[in-house]
Symmetry: C2
Subunit: 150 residues, 2 copies
């Protein structure tokens, strides 16, 4: 468990290093999946009985604010979370199954994409006086398994 790399980043922020926070970070670092609060809660129940769903929500909020993870709205009102890895494929977008909610990362044409994004952002900033902070690109469809299911 090389899980203490996050610990230091809690220092000085006024936030404390607690068992739920460690558990959630460990879980998310072990999976490549994009998980919802409830999924995270249920997965944790096995290794951490007694953890509260409320705590999961609060922790996810905190971790997002600290820049540890991304929150991905599913349109159904449900959100999914993924750890931000400081390693390789940091910038990526998503392919979302509209049937089961599965999310797949992709990095196709990121360079061209970024160029276009940059241009558009600049244009929008000037014309609408928006302070642009982020963008989102995603594709929707039906995954292989859900295609077979009917």
């Amino acid at each position: 468990m090389p899980s203490h790399k996050w610990r230091k980043r809690f220092r000085g922020s006024g936030s404390r290093w607690t068992a739920p926070r460690e558990a959630i970070l460990n879980l998310l670092s072990k999976t490549s999946k994009h998980m919802s609060a409830k999924e995270i809660y249920q997965a944790l129940l096995r290794i951490y009985p007694g953890i509260g769903l409320t705590t999961v929500y609060r922790t996810l909020d905190l971790l997002e604010k600290m820049g540890f993870l991304n929150k991905i709205p599913l349109g159904s009102g449900e959100n999914k979370y993924e750890l931000i890895t400081e390693s390789d494929q940091t910038h990526h977008h998503h392919l979302i199954c509209t049937q089961c909610g599965k999310i797949i990362d992709y990095t196709d044409f990121v360079d061209e994409e970024l160029e276009l994004i940059k241009k558009t952002e600049k244009s929008l900033k000037q014309r609408h006086r928006f302070q642009i902070t982020d963008h989102n690109i995603e594709f929707y469809g039906v995954c292989e398994q859900c295609q077979k299911r009917r």
Copy 2:
């Protein structure tokens, strides 16, 4: 009120032409805003007292399925709706204020965008065996008014 152009499109679909449906279509055709169910409900109350919020939701669902309007998830769990105009700027994307939820249409670089989209879609389709049905591009930021507000 040239509002009877939709009427015929209800024929044969088994759906009936009703007052709430006409009211909602009229309202949305008069505005360029992207409105939530509640906003639509409240706007209608003045001209159509007694209309139910439930009916608004149901009608919006129906109209979306019939291809009359787009549903835009806000990430906060709230959705906004816009009429699809058969006229000019059909294909566009959105600039969304994260403070007040205001949505602004933009059509910058749509040609380049569509080219990139097409390429990416093809690539994703092959590699992940997804049946891709749609895409979404949006920018987030803070609108001019919300910048002033603090």
